[in-house]
Symmetry: D2
Subunit: 259 residues, 4 copies
């Protein structure tokens, strides 16, 4: 099919039951809508604002849950890595290695991911232009790994706001499949509380603008109970709204594909 | 119909023949596509970067051309005003008075426009948030003129670039019909030459993202020969591409309206 | 002397007694510190966020107060103009005509000011680069008026904050005497209340950084009772702190002049 | 004394002779001016724009050069770390561990640095507000390490420019000694070439604005031959200009200290 794909899941893996329940629900929706689906979960959170923030339940344990999700539903999985040594370890469990936005300029880390032979998803730094992501992509392809994609997660706009520059979608699609991360694009960083805020009511606005411009994939963090998620709750999509959202987006994409 | 409307024309009125030719072509296209059309032309350009830039062919003469376009094709017209005294004069010739982005904080000017009883189109300052446009709208409605709309023309992003914040569309639609100015949103200001640059290849990207988010109208400057237009040539749409662009947008809007 | 000069006063002229009291106090301080002083007062405020904001006590009356301040203390005065017709009128009463930041791209207004033969103070738009102010300066000198200066009042940084780019001071000093407006540089615009906020505790930080980089003049709005000023109270300097501030700045400038 | 301190050196350690020659020259100057001096050199460069950029001469070898510089001139040294495992290794050779701006949100890395007991220098992310650095500082002090300082290296301003927000100096000095990195604050990132540009002619402008606002230290990359430095050449200070620059700054600081 000619549909967009979906990277979705909770932000962090909080436990096996939670992961399986979320995956099951998303699989059901994406099967119905014929959306290729990749389950996303972080096996640790290394870049929290405050030291008392939740940082994960333990590396190996979380990676095993990712594998179990993959085997149970026969879907690929993606996780993010933060240290060179994470690359090899995570590559044994998941299909796509993601380089976080803050770390996309760390050449050693990108190369370590590329050398696993897995697909590499490079998040655009909040401080980077769409054009400059070409250099990050080249770091992967220079390792003889052509399986690389990029993800826009918004750009710094003043201290406490982010903006999505939709000119970046056609720009980045010229050198790699491009994903739009609607969850993190709506962050409101640098809040005085030390907890990142968000504007989840704008998820569909941002998602539509991407889909209508032929973005290849969407990245959405979703949870049955965003208010109680252990991280990124401020921007997560309530799983109960996912089907309606994706249904709208599929209809729009079909029209776009027909033009 | 439930379609978007179009404000379009050359940037400045350069002559009667040119204005009529452009209007004729756009009328033909918009009739076919059932898009309500308003002819746009500036009767003077007061805010050029350099003193040697073209500033118009003479107020009265240009306004008369606007009226002639209106009568010839039975379409409404819009022009922008820069001084309080412009309001009354222009109101005798056109249907919509537009307050330029740089001037939208000039209370006296907004009030003068409002008091003519004409429709007032308030452009969002490059330096203003979508939310703050509510105060500008209130200045019009406080004059007992409910016919007010707002137009986003992009927001400053560093010295030499602009960005469109699509969160602004649902935000501003809560208090007024909202137009997206795809021409000026793609400006690249503060170039060392003193001539504003642009990225016209991104017109459809920006327009689609607006249409899919239910923007009420589009503002497009167009010309048979953008390279030789006397102002804003860098971002104008070649009139030969307008029909294809609008056709795509109408198809997208139909799908959106059906969701 | 080789000292910086000072443009200072209340934001708007609220009454004769108030104006004379403020001028008297500032004259006393600047005489002691050998700082050339220009009294600043707006005869109307045309660009308020909300229509119910104070917009002035009446043009002619306020201009006469400016002249009275000038004659009483034998000091020059400055006021800002918003319409072409203001230029001639204000030029009969004051020594320097100021073009507000929002209006500095209005060629007709700049030319009208230049043609009075008075000194013209061009405020840098919040949306303009320091380099691009060269074009505004040229509009004045092209009218055979060489008496032109520029004033930095900060640059947009996200929707609700401003930033001073100190690289702009040496840049703009290459084409005109340059003033740093410490009051408006600290504005926090686009607040949801419709009333601009501020960070007056940063006045000395910003002023010092300008003085140490040889800015030619400072612009400071000051009032005996900032909390009750009719406009811009959020950033005004309490007049009781002015002497200490200026004393520090003069000491720093003396050292800089000796390097 | 009450003077500011200096972190300075080449960007990357390119070889022993080069390091010793630079250190010798800076020691001579800072001794004369009574400026406490810390030699700075990166033992590897992990975050280059392009994979073919120079990334260092080898970890252990470069760290030994840092130690040799320290022993030869009896001065402390600083280097930056990029992986958790770097912390322990580098701590055996240097006195201050620096967390790069892109990595300052990586909790594990900050904690690893803190737990060595060495002084930790946290660079402010280009995407962070001065206020939000408080959370980074707390991550260090929560490890019972009170020896922490922060360094401003500019803030993203559009895609291809950076800006220094001097309000950040008093803000950050409230929770930690604050350094101003004049070299990286003048970067011009995201250039189409993949090589970061710069504006070294603005070094003294930025440095003066920091010194006059009581910044505790300055960070300057310097080289006998910036054009041929293997990284960051675009913003490095030619070592021949260092004495004149520092002399001016010391004079200014003395005046400031006397106020």
């Amino acid at each position: 099919s000619n549909n967009f794909f979906l990277l979705a899941g909770p932000c962090a893996i909080e436990g096996e039951e939670m992961a399986l329940r979320i995956a099951e629900k998303v699989v059901e929706i994406t099967n119905k809508l014929e959306i290729p689906y990749v389950f996303k979960g972080s096996f640790k959170k290394a870049n929290r604002s405050r030291i008392d923030s939740f940082t994960g339940m333990g590396d190996e344990k979380a990676l095993k849950i990712l594998r179990k999700v993959s085997e149970t539903f026969e879907i690929p999985t993606i996780t993010d890595i933060h240290e060179i040594s994470d690359a090899k370890m995570a590559a044994e469990y998941v299909d796509i290695l993601q380089i976080p936005a803050f770390l996309v300029r760390q050449t050693d880390l990108v190369v370590a991911a590329a050398e696993t032979g897995k697909v590499v998803n490079l998040k655009k730094g909040q401080f980077m232009s769409p054009e400059s992501m070409k250099h990050a992509v080249t770091k992967v392809t220079d390792c003889n790994n052509e399986q690389v994609m990029v993800t826009d997660r918004g750009t710094m706009f003043g201290y406490q706001d982010m903006i999505v520059d939709f000119r970046g979608i056609p720009t980045m699609r010229e050198f790699a499949p491009t994903v739009l991360d609607v969850t993190h694009s709506l962050q409101q960083p640098n809040q005085s509380s030390g907890v990142t805020g968000g504007r989840p009511e704008m998820i569909e606005t941002i998602a539509r603008a991407g889909i209508v411009n032929k973005v290849d994939g969407l990245f959405i963090e979703t949870h049955f109970d965003p208010a109680n998620a252990k991280s990124d709750g401020a921007n997560m999509l309530d799983l109960n709204y996912l089907e309606k959202l994706l249904g709208n987006l599929v209809a729009i994409r079909k029209t776009v594909n027909s033009l």
